[in-house]
């Protein structure tokens, strides 16, 4: 038996606000007291409880994860959640600065608050929370996994997601959908999905040859006397944002009309509640909710947003449950006469020092990690400054990766993808092989080195910028902005494609990028088949072992306007 900690009295934190945030210096609130009971506290409502986890990205253990300080919205999404960060976020949702919620949800005071509140997440903590909800709500509970579950760690990469599949199986999800799951390739996905024991949904996936459905579109679940239709929407741009050659027979897309058709079909079949388990990304789901009729709930994913309140679009509730195993979402619904009469929502942050780990899950996690434990724990270097990834334009972990690319591959310019996953390393900590692979463990890791003209570079950067800042979310394709080492630039996010990027310069010399000159560029995660080069984790590991100590100053290479 695990002895249950009634509560953890967390330590006093008085560190000043991190430099650069500007304006008022806040002080972290002292003597915050958190208990498991408080974290789980929820006045039950209605006859259905939806429990949602998403974008766990292979993270089985508690971790640090700094939420973005820059997350800009364009068009209708400008200034709307989730495109609010820092103090604006705290004000919008009435979260006290320095509180545990402020730490879980924003980047404000992150370093100081991380010392106070410790690591978050761990699937054994999630298991405790989910078991507690089930114990309380019995047959009213539906557990749904929004995908990006099987990828994002070394053990996931080495086992092709089996570590996560085995651990998640203990939670008995009712359905899941996916995105990075597909980067294990057609055969592995088919095999894993067949053995899953619950439906892997993707109403928007068709076979490329006959344009016929390739995955189950929906599943119907009876809970609390209500007939619940769960529709699944995989990431619409998987074959664009990730290697299409790995899944040549599957075609994706937003397929709004197919979503509507599935909703209509479910309603006709007598569904009292229609839920879209989505990996569209929040802005796409917001638009979808405004155009598709009859959706009660969209459980959003992909963009890793953690929102403490449901966002209502028409009659549809949008839930954003964060990423990296930091949160479990609980949505209680009063479903009667084929509609939602009332709801209550809580985004439960999994403070790892407060929530008792579930013993069964903890044992399973230890078992799946055991073959890799020694290499994962290997210290490669040490950081004096915070290493994080999330944010629209840069993160210090990506700056580290770009530095490694420039030096280890003797390049002038480095390109690193704007992935949203990847864990945070605190100042003074060792950088382990696990930290490096948490930011790099993908099935197409080759580091290429090639000549690119200045004109081609601009074309690539413009292309990626449009994937992020196209005013129509249906035309937004992927992650955050590509990270660039060795080169500075200015971006006006409100301009159309081709006109956003200007003032591209080599940082070393300050010289403007010449459209006709060829530059030596190193990068990784190319979606092209047959890309040659060493895996990125080797390149970063070798750099770290040479450097030993990392100290990264704030990145000022990107000048952003049009905000």
């Amino acid at each position: 038996m695990i002895s249950r900690r009634e509560f953890v009295q967390v330590a006093l934190a008085t560190a000043a606000l991190a430099a650069g945030a500007g304006g008022t210096a806040t002080r972290a609130f002292a003597q915050q007291k958190l208990t498991e009971k408080e974290l789980l506290a929820f006045e039950p409502l209605g006859n259905v409880t939806l429990v949602h986890v998403t974008d766990i990205h292979g993270q089985l253990m508690p971790l640090y994860f700094r939420e973005p300080s820059t997350n800009l919205g364009v068009g209708d999404a400008k200034g709307q959640p989730p495109h609010i960060t820092g103090r604006d976020f705290l004000a919008r949702f009435g979260v006290a600065p320095g509180s545990s919620a402020a730490y879980a949800l924003t980047s404000e005071d992150f370093e100081a608050l991380a010392k106070t509140y410790g690591q978050i997440g761990g699937l054994d903590r999630a298991a405790t929370v989910i078991k507690a909800i089930r114990a309380e709500r019995g047959d009213r509970v539906v557990l749904l996994d929004g995908g990006d579950t099987w990828q994002g760690s070394w053990s996931s990469l080495q086992t092709r997601g089996q570590d996560m599949i085995d651990c998640m199986a203990l939670l008995k999800p009712d359905a899941m959908t996916g995105h990075w799951e597909f980067t294990y390739g057609t055969e592995r996905v088919k095999q894993a999905v067949d053995a899953l024991g619950f439906p892997f949904l993707g109403l928007n996936i068709r076979d490329t040859e006959w344009n016929e459905p390739a995955f189950e579109a929906s599943t119907t679940i009876e809970r609390g006397g209500a007939k619940i239709a769960v529709l699944g929407q995989a990431f619409p741009y998987t074959p664009v944002a990730n290697p299409r050659w790995m899944i040549p027979n599957w075609s994706f897309g937003v397929r709004e009309e197919d979503v509507q058709a599935q909703v209509d079909k479910a309603r006709k079949a007598g569904a009292d509640l229609v839920v879209l388990l989505s990996h569209n990304g929040f802005d796409v789901d917001r638009k979808l909710a405004s155009r598709v009729r009859g959706l009660d709930v969209i459980l959003t994913g992909h963009t890793h947003d953690a929102l403490p309140e449901a966002v209502k679009v028409g009659k549809t509730l949008l839930i954003a449950s964060g990423s990296s195993g930091k949160f479990v979402s609980r949505l209680d619904l009063d479903v009667r006469d084929g509609e939602v009469k009332a709801y209550r929502y809580k985004l439960i942050p999994l403070f790892s020092d407060v929530i008792t780990p579930d013993a069964q899950m903890a044992a399973k996690i230890a078992e799946v990690r055991k073959p890799f434990a020694a290499e994962l724990g290997r210290a490669l270097g040490r950081t004096e400054t915070l290493l994080y990834r999330r944010g629209n334009f840069n993160g210090t972990f990506d700056d580290l990766i770009c530095q490694a690319l420039l030096q280890e591959r003797d390049a002038e310019i480095a390109l690193s993808p704007g992935f949203r996953w990847g864990t945070t390393v605190m100042p003074g900590q060792d950088i382990t092989f696990e930290d490096v692979t948490n930011a790099t463990a993908i099935t197409y890791p080759a580091v290429y080195r090639m000549g690119m003209t200045g004109a081609r570079l601009k074309e690539i950067i413009e292309d990626v910028a449009d994937n992020l800042f196209n005013v129509d979310p249906y035309y937004q394709q992927g992650g955050d902005m590509v990270r660039i080492g060795g080169m500075s630039y200015a971006i006006d996010i409100n301009k159309p494609q081709g006109q956003r990027i200007s003032d591209m310069r080599l940082i070393k010399t300050g010289a403007a990028i010449d459209p006709s000159r060829e530059y030596q560029v190193a990068g990784w995660a190319s979606v092209n088949e047959g890309t040659q080069g060493p895996p990125i984790w080797e390149v970063v590991s070798s750099y770290l072992q040479r450097q030993k100590t990392i100290r990264l100053e704030p990145n000022r290479a990107v000048k952003v306007t049009g905000v």
Partner: protein
């Protein structure tokens, strides 16, 4: 990317009677002839919006073979049917994509083809009905370099 001077359209069935490939010209012009082709097809008459449903991806997975499905709302009877649908793409070296011919015997005015798109651009469909009325619909398809998503 090399200049694209061939278009491929694949007939995938669905009530289609005839598929006519547009005549090809050798040289890619910077601004293409899409507008002229529409003008020629409509005889300069204004086409109304509506009736046409165009299923195209917002972002192409592969610009070399983009699936396009067309449905025109029509009873397809002897005195009320879709005669012809013109497809043009305004950002390809040549604007012409395909012309689909229908008759009352088609039963439905539906078709699926695959088209090639050299870059991000609009695909425009214009339908000519048996009474001479014209309808049009357009959709922007983004063709990206790809990568960096996640």
């Amino acid at each position: 990317m090399g200049a694209i001077n061939r278009r491929q359209a694949f007939l995938l069935g669905g009530g289609l009677v005839a598929l006519t490939l547009m005549p090809m010209t050798a040289d890619a012009e910077p601004s293409n002839d899409a507008a002229e082709l529409i003008k020629k097809f409509t005889g300069g008459k204004e086409a109304a919006s509506g009736k046409i449903s165009l299923d195209l991806p917002e972002i192409a997975e592969n610009g070399n073979t983009v699936p396009l499905s067309l449905t025109v709302d029509s009873p397809m009877t002897a005195d009320n049917y879709v005669k012809e649908v013109l497809f043009v793409a305004d950002g390809n070296p040549n604007g012409g994509v395909a012309t689909l011919m229908f008759s009352p015997l088609s039963g439905k005015a539906e078709a699926s083809i695959r088209i090639r798109l050299a870059q991000t651009q609009n695909v425009i469909a214009v339908a000519k009905m048996s009474d001479g009325s014209l309808f049009t619909e357009r959709k922007t398809v983004k063709v990206t370099i790809g990568g960096c998503g996640g």
